[in-house]
């Protein structure tokens, strides 16, 4: 389990990294945290011609407010996000989801941008960033563009990133008032990829009725999964257990998860339904607490 040989670059700036990407394109892989990439190299499942290690590139690791949005540099370690008071305050859903990602030693190296770019459908961050309505900033020698998280995840392990593009930043709308969120997951063991997970938030109007809701699931589809019908069904309701059950049934109806070693399609559908209902109830109760404050 030793990696194949590759050419190695460690650019000092994002510009230099983007330049190398432009030059090597498909033959290159970006090495960020390496917590998914290096295992694949050690297993010789990948043999990139070159690795562009962005760990020494300045300016890709930050957590700060940019206007109304929380901006996170793509190479920000997952652990820094987990520890960030700003993330906890502005995006409690993201904060809540962080400990579900593998183990702390992995989060010490793993980056938010790496996880999003790798786009494992059972990973937590793609679902959470989608649930939060995040925007991803992609840069190449051709320029910069912003892609909504909804559009970023294209298919299983596939994103909107062009071969010459680097994900540099993630922008997240902050949590609105009267909003509650929840993240729930079922996995074989603590720290494993999700058999099913759900990131949910709901916002109440002044009468305590749901005015906005979002539920995004991981582990049950090739990309983070959401059901417009389920979300719409919640609008105007009091988010009673019955309302939550109804919405989660809609999700289950639309879902057609893949079977794999760890769980069948039917199991995943049921887990998605159960977790969605539980997450909605938890998010609703948190939103009500918020409303009372």
């Amino acid at each position: 389990m030793k990696p194949p040989a590759f050419e190695y670059f460690d650019p000092r700036t994002p510009e230099e990294a983007i330049g190398l990407l432009g030059e090597h394109g498909d033959a290159a892989k970006i090495l960020a945290g390496g917590q998914s990439l290096v295992p694949m190299l050690n297993l010789r499942l990948l043999r990139p011609g070159c690795l562009i290690d962005i760990n020494a590139a300045a300016g890709l690791s930050f957590i700060e407010m940019k206007g109304e949005e929380l901006a996170i540099g793509a190479r920000t370690r997952q652990r820094a996000i987990e520890r960030s008071a700003l993330v906890r305050e502005k995006c409690p859903l993201l904060h809540e989801a962080m400990p579900f990602i593998a183990h702390f030693q992995i989060r010490n190296r793993g980056t938010i941008g790496g996880s999003l770019s790798h786009a494992d459908p059972a990973a937590e961050l793609p679902a959470v960033v989608t649930a939060l309505g995040g925007t991803l900033i992609l840069r190449s020698v051709r320029g910069e563009r912003a892609v909504k998280a909804d559009d970023f995840h294209v298919a299983y392990l596939t994103t909107a990133l062009e071969p010459d593009e680097l994900l540099t930043e993630i922008r997240l709308p902050v949590q609105a008032p009267q909003t509650g969120s929840a993240f729930l997951e079922v996995s074989r063991r603590h720290g494993d990829f999700a058999l099913a997970a759900v990131a949910a938030w709901v916002r109440l109007d002044k009468n305590g009725r749901c005015e906005a809701a979002k539920l995004v699931l991981a582990g049950v589809h090739g990309v983070p999964f959401q059901s417009a019908a389920a979300q719409a069904s919640l609008i105007g309701t009091t988010l009673s257990p019955g309302d939550a059950a109804q919405a989660s049934r809609l999700i289950a109806t639309e879902l057609d998860p893949q079977s794999d070693l760890h769980a069948s399609s039917d199991y995943r559908r049921q887990a998605a339904r159960v977790l969605a209902a539980r997450a909605l109830e938890q998010a609703a109760s948190r939103a009500r607490m918020q409303a009372q404050e």
Partner: protein, 158 residues
């Protein structure tokens, strides 16, 4: 294959070596620097036997290339004891029978060293979660949890 020179601090000492870019940090530590206390258990980041502390954080040395440690400050299990005197973690592991074959132990010690520096008074639940990134096949973890609790109390007493 082209070699790269790597300069770093290991266990408080400046060290230098040469390695091709693909050489894993754990192999560099073991083979080039002779620090065989860090073990290789799975080479895909799951078992935690190769865990070291790099720039203050516990990381898997099987998921890093040696070239990435250029300029870093690394601590391995060999740094823990002060001469004949065991570190509080080591002493607690000894007294609680928290190791059997000992193969996973260096990785666990380094994980717990980093964990306790951030969480000096952990609950049992916190210890179990922090420990879950290191696999042990001998002990069933129970005595490791006790040892970490004991070490935390001793380190706080200092």
């Amino acid at each position: 294959m082209s070699q790269r020179v790597i300069r770093l601090q290991v266990n408080g000492q400046p060290r230098e070596g040469e390695a091709p870019a693909r050489k894993l940090l754990v192999d560099f530590l073991r083979e080039d620097l002779g620090l065989t206390g860090t073990h290789v258990g799975c080479e895909h980041g799951v078992c935690g036997a190769c865990t070291i502390v790099m720039d203050g954080e516990a990381v898997r040395s099987c998921l890093l290339f040696a070239v990435q440690a250029e300029g870093a400050s690394i601590a391995t299990v060999e740094s823990l004891a002060d001469g004949e005197r065991l570190h509080a973690l080591q002493q607690s592991f000894h007294e609680c029978h928290a190791l059997q074959c000992g193969f996973c132990t260096p990785g666990i010690l380094m994980s717990m060293l980093a964990f306790l520096s951030e969480t000096p008074a952990p609950t049992e639940e916190q210890i179990r979660v922090a420990l879950s990134g290191n696999l042990c096949r001998c002990t069933g973890y129970q005595n490791i949890v006790r040892a970490v609790q004991m070490a935390a109390a001793r380190m706080a007493g200092k």
